[in-house]
């Protein structure tokens, strides 16, 4: 059975159709806009995060922390040198990657570890020469800490796997050198050179990476870079990349190496996205505020027009709290319909936005507007609308409940 208060609330509200439609429209737009802005803003941020996690992994370990005289001596034998950063000295590179990989087995969040040897080279094709970075990898390890397998746009990863002199070349570099799959090119550094073959071409969407990174089998890279042991860095993939800062901090303490989570590595871009998010949140908050003001206005108007009815209700035994509930129910009805319709509107507009062609290439690559589908955007939008509208409704509702029936009747009768 419908409660008497709800029944009265519904009739009061439907009697003020224009005001109700206005409040409802504002609530629907507020909720819808909240969802769309969250979906679009976080869409790009998440896509960027996915892109950079797919290239560089969640965590990188590089450079040993030099904190004792013994470690200085250890560094003296190789081609490593000292560097001072933020008051701490580092020995560049990782001398014993296998030992670190063993130590990393104690971290349950780790999905995979790839030891990488990196060095600067020149790439020469029949067309021209470009500067590049060589990354010597063990393919099976590296595909566990990156999206390299999914980033291949020409050729086959298996060709690379089976060809010791094969190379994976970035799309931008390949275009600049006019290389296609199967072409040969020369890598040279420090007087040494190697002729290799393009096994496949990859594209991450991150232009700087696609322009400079060339992946080789590690043995080939070590030979070219004259680095028979050690690694430049360890790239780590995590099951839960959001826990990277905590894991990195523990790793740094345990391994005594510089450990950087992706959040620190990409903090500039992440700050840009955060600023964008705050800016859209301000816009959305203003809109939600307008929605709650419309609700306040509607209810305040109904209270003014319904003082006689409030007196009747009070004379019939309706309590102050009944009067409050009648007005809060009105807000609740608008909220219920507004939140539902707003969520549907948000979903429809989000889908329409996701169909908008928008070629982006630079920090990631996409042909369409990127959106995120996240239930928390919907819950957040509804929760925000509930808080704002209920606060806005409480004032007129309490005012209605405070009205003295005797005063109303006396005032009306005069």
């Amino acid at each position: 059975m419908i409660s008497p208060n709800l029944r009265i609330a519904f009739r009061f509200l439907t009697a003020k159709k224009r005001a109700m439609v206005m409040s409802l429209a504002c609530t629907i737009l507020g909720v819808g806009l909240f969802i769309v802005t969250q979906a679009t803003t976080s869409g790009f941020e998440r896509f960027f995060t996915k892109t950079i996690l797919g290239i560089n992994g969640a965590i990188r370990i590089e450079d040993k922390i030099q904190d004792t005289m013994r470690s200085m001596a250890a560094a003296g034998g190789g081609d490593s040198h000292f560097a001072r950063r933020e008051g701490v000295k580092y020995i560049e590179g990782i001398e014993e990657p296998q030992a670190l990989i063993e130590a990393l087995r104690g971290f349950p969040n780790i999905r995979g570890v790839s030891a990488v040897v990196r060095g600067g080279v020149q790439v020469t094709s029949a067309f021209k020469t470009e500067d590049a970075q060589v990354f010597g990898i063990r393919l099976e390890d590296h595909v566990r800490v990156s999206d390299l397998a999914e980033q291949i746009t020409s050729g086959q990863l298996d060709d690379f796997r089976q060809t010791p002199t094969g190379a994976l070349v970035g799309r931008v570099l390949a275009d600049r050198l006019q290389l296609v799959v199967g072409d040969s090119f020369v890598l040279s550094t420090r007087g040494a050179s190697r002729r290799l073959r393009v096994a496949a071409i990859y594209e991450t969407g991150y232009r700087e990476v696609d322009k400079t990174n060339v992946y080789l089998h590690q043995a080939e890279a070590r030979s070219l870079l004259k680095r028979p042991s050690g690694a430049t860095f360890l790239q780590i993939g995590l099951h839960d990349p959001d826990r990277a800062p905590a894991d990195a901090s523990r790793m740094e303490q345990v391994l005594r190496h510089s450990v950087k989570p992706w959040q620190e590595r990409e903090k500039t871009w992440l700050a840009v996205f955060r600023a964008l998010r705050i800016s859209t949140m301000i816009t959305v908050s203003v809109f939600t505020l307008i929605a709650s003001l419309a609700m306040f206005n509607t209810l305040a108007m109904i209270v003014l027009e319904k003082t006689k009815d409030i007196a009747i209700l009070r004379s019939m035994g309706y309590e102050r709290r009944d009067v409050t509930r009648i007005f809060l129910w009105q807000a609740g009805i608008v909220l219920g319909i507004g939140a539902g319709a707003g969520a549907i509107l948000g979903a429809v507009v989000t889908w329409l936005v996701s169909q908008v062609p928008l070629p982006v290439n630079g920090i990631f690559k996409t042909d369409r507007f990127i959106v995120t589908w996240d239930i928390y955007h919907y819950l957040g939008a509804i929760a925000t609308a509930v808080v704002m509208v209920m606060i806005a409704s409480l004032i007129p509702a309490r005012r209605a409940a405070r009205l003295e029936p005797g005063d109303i009747v006396r005032g009306t009768a005069q």
Binding site: R7, A15, K308, I312, S315, Y318, E319, R320, E404
Partner: protein
């Protein structure tokens, strides 16, 4: 002793030495100056007097719609004037029915819904029983054929008759009416007054009405004239 107990059982409402001021500062007026009054079941009382003498103020105090500045009000033998709003509201819902001068129907609701509204709040009957009782009351006031009309679709006289039916919905022991015929033509005035008194007498309810109409006042069992905040 038995006689006095029967008298007190008959007493639906009683007030003693009621005082009420209205307005503030220099505009503050002593409207009721120590008014005492009682009403018995089955009797119809008229409070008459010139405008501003305090009769409506007294009625709202008796109906617990307002608080007195001094004195006390008993409803069915229970002092209610000092109770909190919740208890006074409950007493209103259970023991008191109101009929106001300006009908005061809730216009978005049908006649039937208006009559059912006090019953829904009291919650003593099942929805079907509420509906039956509301139909019965509307039949009794001659509106059995218009139960589903909205307040806006009823004439002034019809609205007032619905208001009478609504006031009787919870079978209150006290019926308070503020100029119930003040806004009606002669025919409708007589109709509404006859209804009020007949239904009240049938159910043993005390009826207290405020009126300017001397003909109506003459037809009541007791007439109490007021002047300057006191009964004369």
């Amino acid at each position: 002793m038995e006689g006095s107990s029967a008298v007190s059982r008959d007493l639906a409402i009683r007030c003693r030495d009621l005082h009420r001021h209205l307005g503030q500062g220099e505009g503050r007026v002593h409207v009721l100056k120590g008014v005492s009054f009682e009403a018995r079941r089955g009797q119809v009382y008229a409070i008459v007097g010139p405008s501003g003498c305090g009769k409506s103020t007294l009625l709202y105090l008796l109906g617990l719609l307002d608080r007195p500045d001094g004195g006390e009000i008993e409803i069915n033998g229970r002092v209610m004037s000092n109770h909190d709003d919740l208890a006074r509201t409950a007493a209103r819902g259970e023991h008191i029915g109101f009929v106001f001068q300006f009908h005061f129907l809730m216009l978005e609701f049908t006649a039937l819904e208006n009559v059912m509204m006090p019953m829904r709040k009291l919650g003593k009957l099942t929805p079907a029983a509420m509906r039956d009782r509301a139909h019965g009351l509307l039949e009794a006031v001659g509106l059995g054929a218009k139960t589903h009309r909205l307040g806006t679709q009823l004439s002034g006289g019809e609205q007032q008759r619905v208001a009478v039916a609504r006031a009787l919905a919870n079978q209150p022991t006290i019926l308070l009416a503020d100029e119930p015929t003040g806004n009606l033509d002669v025919r409708n005035s007589n109709l509404v007054f006859d209804l009020l008194t007949r239904l009240a007498k049938e159910n043993g309810q005390a009826v207290v009405l405020v009126t300017h109409n001397p003909e109506i006042a003459q037809r009541c069992d007791v007439t109490r004239p007021m002047r300057d905040g006191v009964f004369v």
